[in-house]
């Protein structure tokens, strides 16, 4: 299928830990990218392709802050300009590997692969759960064989939980209600869902330490912040005035139209002094993610995203439909189509077949 992801957006390229003293080669938005750190600690991202014979620069080596191609030894500076060719005294004019704007905001390194100048007009979303006081967080990354919008749409509609994750479903919540409220702006969609009182699932009881012999109110909420980030919250009202809140951050970076790097991060704001709780939650979330990946890869392998998006809509899809409109508009303004076409594309039955995101 055609790419259905906007280029003009900050995406997560890697975790800050992944980029250490070596060279990290990674395909992002169908472009080969090499990431590395300068001696100062600053992160650089270049096109992972030597201008000479196309050998991946990530297979080369660092000489101080210079990146040396592992094939014929061409040397590149931090702006991607070729500054040395071993076999001749002069450097051909204008030879370079494209440099991409990056931001190192732990735990993530963000990259801008779109029109370079426009990067300054945007900022990566702030993710206070992952860096702020009062939260403990961890996460892991997978690369799955599914279009990135399948990932967003999966997490935008959590009514799949009882079927896909029966062990993690609180008893009595086997039928999750659709959303209570969806709130949209030009670039974001926020949704909330209030759940009827129910007992704790095993993992909730173990994590919170709350007594099992009663029912608890919960609220699930989330925000599509950009095509790169979906943030979710899961609150349990412990009845003691303290909200037991967990946040799941899905950093969704297309590798190609049919593959996605998913940085799945998780944070909680209770029992921060008990490391065991964090490890327990991490294990639960890792299991949940494996189950999610299996579902998404099965859809990609059969219907594909276009087939999936052509399916019928349910009430629970209110958030999904709003997100499709936002992405369609982003693609339209980026590629130079008119907004009116974009606004209508994801909604009209005839256009749905051809509209890129939906």
């Amino acid at each position: 299928m055609n790419p259905n992801y906007p280029l003009d957006c900050w995406y997560v390229a890697a975790t800050s830990d992944e980029v250490g003293s070596g060279l990290l080669g990674r395909k992002l938005l169908d472009r080969p990218v090499v990431l590395y750190r300068l001696e100062s600690g600053e992160v650089v991202a270049l096109e992972d392709r030597c201008a000479h014979r196309g050998y991946p620069l990530s297979k080369g080596r660092l000489d101080g802050d210079l990146l040396v191609c592992g094939y014929h030894g061409l040397r590149y500076d931090t702006a991607g300009a070729c500054v040395g060719v071993p076999s001749q005294p002069h450097v051909p004019y204008g030879v370079c590997a494209r440099a991409y704007p990056v931001r190192d905001e732990p735990p993530f390194i963000w990259i801008w692969l779109g029109q370079p100048g426009r990067s300054s007009l945007h900022s990566p979303p702030q993710l206070p759960w992952l860096s702020g006081e009062g939260w403990s967080s961890s996460g892991e990354m997978v690369c799955l064989a599914a279009n990135y919008m399948l990932v967003h749409e999966h997490y935008l509609d959590l009514t799949h939980i009882p079927e896909v994750h029966p062990e993690e479903t609180p008893p009595g919540l086997e039928e999750l209600p659709a959303l209570d409220h969806v709130s949209v702006s030009e670039t974001s969609v926020t949704y909330t869902r209030t759940l009827p009182p129910a007992e704790l699932a095993d993992w909730e009881a173990e994590a919170t330490g709350l007594p099992r012999d009663r029912e608890y109110k919960r609220r699930h909420h989330g925000t599509f912040l950009s095509p790169a980030i979906l943030a979710e919250g899961w609150q349990i009202d412990g009845g003691d005035g303290q909200p037991y809140e967990q946040a799941r951050i899905h950093a969704v970076t297309p590798e190609s139209p049919t593959r996605t790097h998913l940085f799945s991060w998780f944070a909680h704001n209770f029992a921060l002094d008990r490391a065991l709780i964090g490890r327990h939650l991490h294990a639960v979330m890792a299991k949940v993610m494996r189950e999610d990946v299996a579902v998404l890869e099965a859809i990609e392998a059969t219907a594909g995203y276009e087939g999936s998006a052509a399916g019928i809509h349910l009430t629970a899809d209110a958030g999904v439909l709003q997100v499709r409109r936002i992405v369609a508009r982003m693609l339209a303004t980026e590629t130079g189509r008119t907004s009116a076409e974009a606004d209508r594309a994801p909604r009209s039955a005839s256009a749905r077949k051809t509209a890129r995101p939906g």
Partner: protein, 341 residues
């Protein structure tokens, strides 16, 4: 708890007693006036921020917000700051002598520290990627052009701005615009007369998009001057309905049926009520804002039937496609409209 704007009532879960009615709405929040500056004769600029310092949702050039001043007083203002500033929204408001209360309210009642209810942002005037832009602004219509210019500069594409106003003292942002040199033409009416649109637009180029915002007379003149331009080259934003837009087309039906395909609901729209009102009462989740056919919020896709277009959002070509309509003002030429709702 850390939240983004829009999580709203989720903050005190214990207070939730029953499941509220399901709704899709535009983001609404209370912001604080963090700054107020007089920019030119009759023009004040406001800086709006979240009172608790949360980041505001992103937007792109051409976006506007609603200020919900009172329950019956809702006004749209273009965002004129930088999209890169995620902590502040900036608007500039002209005191309109014919004000129906909106601009007077902003000028007289909103001070630093005031709270104001805001809805949006939304964007029906997006800056579509192009190698060249001609911006045309009349008076306070300069506001959406400022972020557009910033974006064109950032993208490194060619642009020009023709900016007309009654007189120099009434024109905002002249100092900021001076930095762009000859790419900006300042055209005060009392010195030079009306903008020379023929001169500005005579050299139509295939790769140029025209963006125009200002009073109706300017918009009509630009629409006329661009008649021979490629379809889709001209983008305009109106502050009021296009004159005559609200008139029915011949053959318009007083009463008709609307089928909402997705919700599986059929309603009858009587002569006295709008499609929007009837759908809202029937519990169909529809977004609406201006309810005058200007803002484009209530646009719905038409699957079957022929709408009687009375809006000022869609161009004539778009209206002729009959595949979308504005629910707040448009009606029907056919006895049945099937909508993707």
């Amino acid at each position: 708890m850390v939240t983004f704007l829009g999580f709203g009532a989720a903050e005190k879960l214990a207070d939730v007693v029953s499941t509220p009615k399901f709704e899709v709405e535009e983001l609404e929040t209370d912001l604080m006036v963090a700054g107020r500056d007089v920019l030119a004769d009759g023009v004040v600029a406001l800086r709006l921020e979240d009172p608790t310092g949360r980041p505001l949702p992103g937007w792109t050039p051409g976006a506007h917000i609603d200020l919900i001043l009172t329950t019956s007083l809702v006004r749209q203002y273009s965002l004129c700051g930088s999209p890169a500033d995620t902590g502040t929204w900036r608007i500039a408001v002209l005191r309109d002598p014919q004000s129906r209360g909106g601009s007077d309210f902003v000028h007289d009642k909103l001070h630093v520290g005031s709270s104001v209810r805001v809805r949006g942002p939304r964007n029906h005037f997006p800056l579509v990627s192009a190698p060249r832009y001609q911006f045309i602004a009349g008076g306070i219509g300069i506001t959406p052009m400022l972020p557009m210019i910033e974006a064109a500069e950032a993208a490194g594409v060619r642009w020009r701005l023709a900016y007309g106003g009654r007189k120099r003292a009434s024109m905002s942002f002249l100092e900021d615009l001076a930095a762009y040199g000859e790419r900006v033409t300042i055209w005060p009416q009392d010195e030079q007369g009306l903008l020379d649109l023929q001169g500005i637009l005579s050299s139509a180029r295939e790769d140029t998009l025209v963006y125009c915002c200002g009073p109706e007379a300017l918009l009509s003149a630009v629409e006329g001057a661009c008649a021979s331009w490629p379809a889709g080259a001209l983008h305009v934003e109106r502050f009021a309905a296009r004159p005559g837009a609200d008139q029915p087309t011949s053959g318009a039906l007083e009463s008709f049926e609307v089928v909402c395909q997705r919700s599986g609901l059929t309603v009858t729209v009587p002569a006295s009520r709008s499609v929007f009102e009837v759908l809202e009462d029937a519990g169909v989740s529809v977004l609406g804002s201006c309810l005058e056919g200007i803002c484009g919020t209530c646009e719905a896709a038409v699957i079957e039937g022929t709408p009687d277009h009375r809006d000022s959002v869609l161009s004539e070509e778009e209206q002729a496609c009959n595949d979308a309509m504005m629910l707040c003002v448009s009606r029907s030429l056919s006895s049945r409209l099937v909508l993707d709702l």
